[in-house]
Every structure is written in C-alpha cells, then in structure tokens.
C-alpha cells in the first residue's frame, strides 16, 4: 500500500495500467505532505488534532506515553482528495455526476443514450468503474466520447483518489460534463465522496419498490433518483408511486425522473436536469435554468 496516499497499488488499475507509485511532493518538516490544498481541506473540515500534553514526551522528566486527542474522521483522507477534485472541477466549470446503482440497473445504457443526445452540444468525458474488464469504457468510446476505465480488483467502490488520477488523463474542456459511473453497488459508494456535484441513483423497475428504504444511506445521499427501464412496466407489478414514496421517506428533497433509455421516454426531462445542474455549477448562486434553456446552457465554452 502506498504509504503516502494509501492506494492499494497491487489492486487498482487505471486505464489498463497498474497504478504506479507517484510523487506527492517533498514532505514538510512536520511529517505531513506538502500539498497545501489537501491540508486546507483537512483543516477546513476537521481540527487536525491538538496535543493535550501536560507532561513532556522527551527530555528530563519525560514520560513514555501520552493520550493525544485527534477527533478526525477515519475516512477523512478520502474527503481531502474529494475536496481537491471538487476544487479542480469548479476551476474548470465542469459538472461532475456520480452515477450509482445496483449491478445491472442500466447505468451504462443510460449513459450511452445520454451521450448521443448531448455530444454535439457539450464536451463530455466518462470515468468507468468495475472490478474487471474494459467493457463499459469500450461502449462509451463507441459513441466517440473519451472514457477511462478504473478496475478496482477486489475493491467495491470508486474513491476520490482513483477518480483524481483518472481525471488527469481525460481531455475535458472547460464547461464540460464528467460522468462517473461507479461500481454497481448500493452500499459502499455512499460513504465515498468523489468530489461530484450530485450523486444520481438509478433504480430499475425490475428491482423492488422498497429498495430506497433498504439502502437508505445511498438514497439519502442522492439528489436525483432515476427510475429506469419504464418500458418494461406493462410486464411487471412494480408500484411506481410506492417507490417514489419510499425514496422521499429517506430523502424528502430527492428529485425523481422516470425514463427508458431504450425508447427515449423521459430522456428529455433528464437532459433538462443535466442542463440546469451544469448552469448551477458554472454560476454558483444562480437560479436553475428554465426548461427551454438546457441546450444553450450546455454550449461548449
């Protein structure tokens, strides 16, 4: 494991290459890394730990051990990387979306359909996450848009460090859109901020209506729930209203869009939502754009 940033070098492959050890810059004399952005992120989020020392640790009269108060989140390292990512995305006016779902809900198919609608109007790139294979990245690249595949090996979620590295290889213009398709998993990705503007949870109608209350952390963390594969509803007993009610129980403010990537039903509403989100990212504090403004809001910078 990398002793500086903690990445599991032996497990993660980014863009087909084993993750090489990288230089995090010279260590500052206090032993912390010299990356000021990461330190700021930490000190902004946490008290970095103060030494409650009543007796000296060294020198005459020293005692050999002492209790040091830390009060730092155990996953704060990922939070630091996520904050760095978020800052870089903001500098470029990029909209970053983290797509999460259980395996097979239709994330990649939705992405392919979305890209076909948007690629003439916006600069788009995709980061794909799977345990193995380049299959999803290949499907994205077939649309003409750049994609990089992260293979997590035994890992079950993407983290901010992996995403930061993958992003370095992507040719995204300012004002573009970065889609991050997370590993299919409704549990672990909820705990790992990637620096995205929004988590979008995709739930297909072939799953149970009570998924949102079974996986409350994920649906609480998502700003939008997409109910996918609605073209299959005539063949199922899926209760759409019950599902939306379940989602609002764990997250009263969650937005919901019902769509089918295959037939195109509901896709217009999703594209509009993306346009509004992109507008908000580019002009913080602005009102969301109206329904007709989505295309112009996505114009390349």
């Amino acid at each position: 494991m990398c002793g500086v940033c903690g990445c599991g070098e032996a497990e993660t492959a980014i863009g087909g290459h084993r993750h090489e050890h990288h230089d995090h810059g010279a260590a500052a004399p206090d032993g912390k890394t010299a990356n000021p952005a990461r330190r700021k992120a930490h000190s902004h989020a946490h008290d970095h730990g103060r030494l409650h020392q009543q007796r000296p640790l060294f020198g005459p009269g020293a005692v050999r051990s002492d209790l040091v108060t830390i009060e730092q989140g155990i996953l704060s390292k990922n939070d630091g990387f996520a904050a760095e990512n978020r800052a870089r995305f903001a500098e470029l006016g990029l909209l970053a979306l983290n797509l999460v779902s259980s395996p097979g809900a239709g994330k990649t198919s939705l992405l392919v359909a979305t890209i076909e609608s948007l690629k003439r109007e916006a600069s788009i790139a995709v980061i794909e996450g799977d345990q193995a294979t380049e299959n999803d990245a290949d499907r994205i690249r077939a649309t003409g848009v750049p994609a990089i595949q992260i293979n997590t090996g035994r890992g079950c979620h993407l983290d901010a460090h992996m995403v930061g590295h993958a992003f370095e290889s992507l040719p995204l213009e300012a004002g573009g859109i970065l889609f991050i398709e997370n590993v299919g998993n409704l549990v672990c990705p909820a705990a790992f901020d990637l620096g995205e503007a929004h988590k979008v949870a995709i739930l297909s109608v072939t799953e149970g209506e009570d998924k949102p209350i079974k996986y409350p952390d994920m649906f609480a963390a998502a700003d939008l729930m997409i109910l996918a594969k609605t073209d299959l509803l005539p063949h199922l007993d899926f209760d759409v209203a019950a599902c939306i009610e379940a989602a609002r129980r764990v997250n009263p403010g969650i937005e919901v869009i019902e769509l089918s990537a295959r037939t195109g039903e509901g896709m217009g509403e999703w594209i509009t939502w993306i346009g509004r989100a992109a507008e908000r990212v580019r002009t913080p504090g602005s009102q969301p754009a109206g329904a007709g403004a989505s295309a112009s809001a996505l114009a390349k910078a």
Partner: protein, 145 residues
Amino acid sequence: MHELTLARNLIELACEHARAQGADRVKRIQVRLGVLSGMLKPLYFCFGPAARGTLCEDALLEIEEVPLTVECPNCRAVKVPHTRYSFRCPTCGSPTPKVVTGREMVLVALELEASDRKKRRRPKRRRAGRADDLAMDNQAGERIR
C-alpha cells in the same frame, strides 16, 4: 463498506499522527463508531491482522458505539427510535430521515509511545525518518496480503 477498508484507513491515520509526534508505537486507539456503520464486531476482528507490521501492531483498540438518534419534523425534537435501525419517531410515528447521531466513524484519541533511547539520540531528519516508515508500511502491505 468492508471492515478491512475501514481498518486500513484507521491504521494509516493513526500511524501518520504517530510519526508526526515522533512516536514509534501506538499503544491504544480510541474510536467512535455510529451504530449505522455496522462495523463494531467486524472492526474488532480484522484490526489485529491489519495492524501487523505497522506502528499500531498490538495496539489496544477501544470502540465507543454511538446509538441512532433522529430528528422528528413533526415533534421538532431529537428522538431515540424504538429499534436500532428504525427511521420512525417513537412518539408520533412520522418518518425521520434526518439522522442526528449514529453515522460517526471517528478516530478519537491515540496513546503513543516513544522509546527511552530516543532521548539520547539526535532527532531524526524528517526525510530519512519518512523513508524508513514507508519501508515499514510497504512491508506491512506485503504481510497483510
């Protein structure tokens, strides 16, 4: 999330602080875990093996588990639900999605130790010390796998 990920993050964070304080051993680690993490027992079981070869080897792990409390929008008060993972107000039955406590995963405190020999030695230059520590972590990485 897998307990091994949590254990590794915890050990690495503790070792970073230990190195920053010039300690060469972590004797005790105090952690606060919210009940929603579901990690109390799993963390206890995997901490020992995960810590082998690091500054946290043989450290005593103390976990304080924090119960679930929620805010009821109807009663406008913080409530303790009837069951461990319930998201309903015990008084009025309203859904209570807002969690007040129960999600924490915090490294609270460390008891560090430095050997007496250090008092007589010239303090290590930070770069040399860091390279040695990296070597220890790399060994730990190999050993853990």
